[in-house]
Point group: C2
Chain length 256, copies 2
DNA sequence: GCCAAATCAAGAGCAGTGCTCATCTATTGA
DNA sequence: TCAATAGATGAGCACTGCTCTTGATTTGGC
């Protein structure tokens, strides 16, 4: 018995983890609203009322799962980025995009939990905004570093298009201050567009809106990644055309 | 007593409509999983078991609401398109995009129902794919007509980018046959990108992922619409810069 | 080592849910 | 007119989240 405050605290931490693990298992096979506190306690062999000492309500459990999901996705994105050659910005963008899609496909219910419709009557607490920003930071970081090293193509607005309206430019400047230091307004706006495009496509695929429209989303997704990277001014990947892995099959293997 | 089969059938249709109306009301204030059949019957003053003669299960009611939502959104998109000058393709694209966002903002729970995470344990039946395709058809129709009338800018892939990979081109050709007759492969793929970008941005706004990132989404959304229209080769709107209406406020007013 | 205080486990219970079923009534078509 | 059918009803089942009381354990200060 090393730590005085150890025994009880450790068994509590263990049970908390077990509850979350079982919750994740049920989430994976029944979805968010199929998650039942009583079923969890039943699987763990404890009394149904006992779980409330660990998670004061169902929403609190859900929040914990959301935080974990954001963290899991954030880690995957960061690792994918870290695996790339630092100044190959096009490849980094593509790699992170593919990592996000891969994580979403191997954790569909957790993806739905964080990027689907907000759970009814549930308002995201402050705890989630920290972990939520990790993925976004990775994507923004690529654009920022490319900008800092002069690898970004600028002057993006084509001749036929009007320049950024005042409201848009103002928003871009505000955003540049907090997340895109030294990046041109046009680039900031296009980064937002690419960001929403990326998650829009993943969500459409995961939520079934590509069914009957696109037979194999992987190559389309890769092409979109390439074109959106170009759209924000990133250079093309050096290592040739990126690939989202196997064509049709993409079981539970994905990233951890 | 005019029609022999009339009285009973009409009162049944009326009650069915009343149930859906009450369901929509509850949906708007409690979300999809807050929808309770018993609460509906309570509000309608009928026995709780009576509702099952009109909707055999909760999922069937949900399906009916989904179909109605798709139809409502489809109508709004078609009307917005119809209001535009036929050969002003840039304006049509922008108008339909803004109509979609407007409908989503005034029917957030119904939008979440159809474009959010699929409700747990619920698989979309065939009934939904027809109405679901209406919005998509409007968007595709704009690109198609522009293509047919030679208003589409082609040769979109910039010098630095590789041409469409074989898999992507094949998918584009397949899609062109069913939805984009005579439209170049590059355009088809970019239309898919613009489509997912549009709904990606609306979903991010509706589901709170723009919170703390973008203060006023309307101008950004308009700019994205403009740039994505250009991305697929549509000409710029003739009527100047489009506007998504009032800056911040956007209450329940929207489209019906 | 003792003992009050805090923590935890357990079970009963409440109000709510979707859904089924037997029963009774009202409408229908022949 | 009358059997067949559709509709309305209330009881009941199994489930849910959550509360509260009761009793057993572990803790930290003395």
């Amino acid at each position: 018995m090393p730590a005085s405050t150890g025994l009880r605290a450790r068994v509590r931490a263990e049970l908390t983890a077990e509850i979350k693990d079982e919750a994740r298992r049920q989430l994976a096979e029944s979805g968010a609203s199929g998650l039942s506190l009583r079923a969890i306690t039943r699987a763990l062999g404890m009394a149904s009322s006992g779980i409330y000492r660990y998670f004061p309500s169902r929403d609190d459990l859900l929040t914990a799962l959301i935080v974990d999901a954001y963290d899991s996705l954030g880690t995957v994105a960061e690792e994918a980025d870290a695996r790339c050659t630092r100044d190959d910005f096009g490849s980094r963008w593509a790699a992170v995009g593919r990592a996000i899609r891969g994580w979403a496909r191997s954790h569909p219910q957790e993806y739905a939990l964080v990027y689907g419709s907000p759970v009814p009557g549930y308002r995201a607490p402050q705890d989630t905004i920290g972990p939520a920003s990790r993925v976004t930071s990775v994507l923004a970081g690529i654009v920022n570093e490319a900008s800092r090293e002069g690898a970004l193509r600028v002057g993006l607005t084509p001749p036929g298009l009007p320049p950024l309206p005042a409201h848009v430019a103002a928003e871009a400047r505000r955003l540049a201050e907090v997340a895109f230091p030294g990046t041109p307004d046009e680039t900031v706006i296009r980064a937002i567009e690419a960001w929403t495009q990326l998650f829009g496509m993943v969500s459409f695929e995961l939520f079934g809106h590509l069914e009957g429209v696109i037979t194999d989303p992987a190559p389309i997704f890769d092409r979109a990644l390439l074109e959106m990277g170009t759209h924000v001014g990133l250079p093309a990947p050096r290592t040739g055309t990126p690939s989202s892995g196997p064509a049709i099959p993409f079981p539970e293997s994905g990233v951890g």
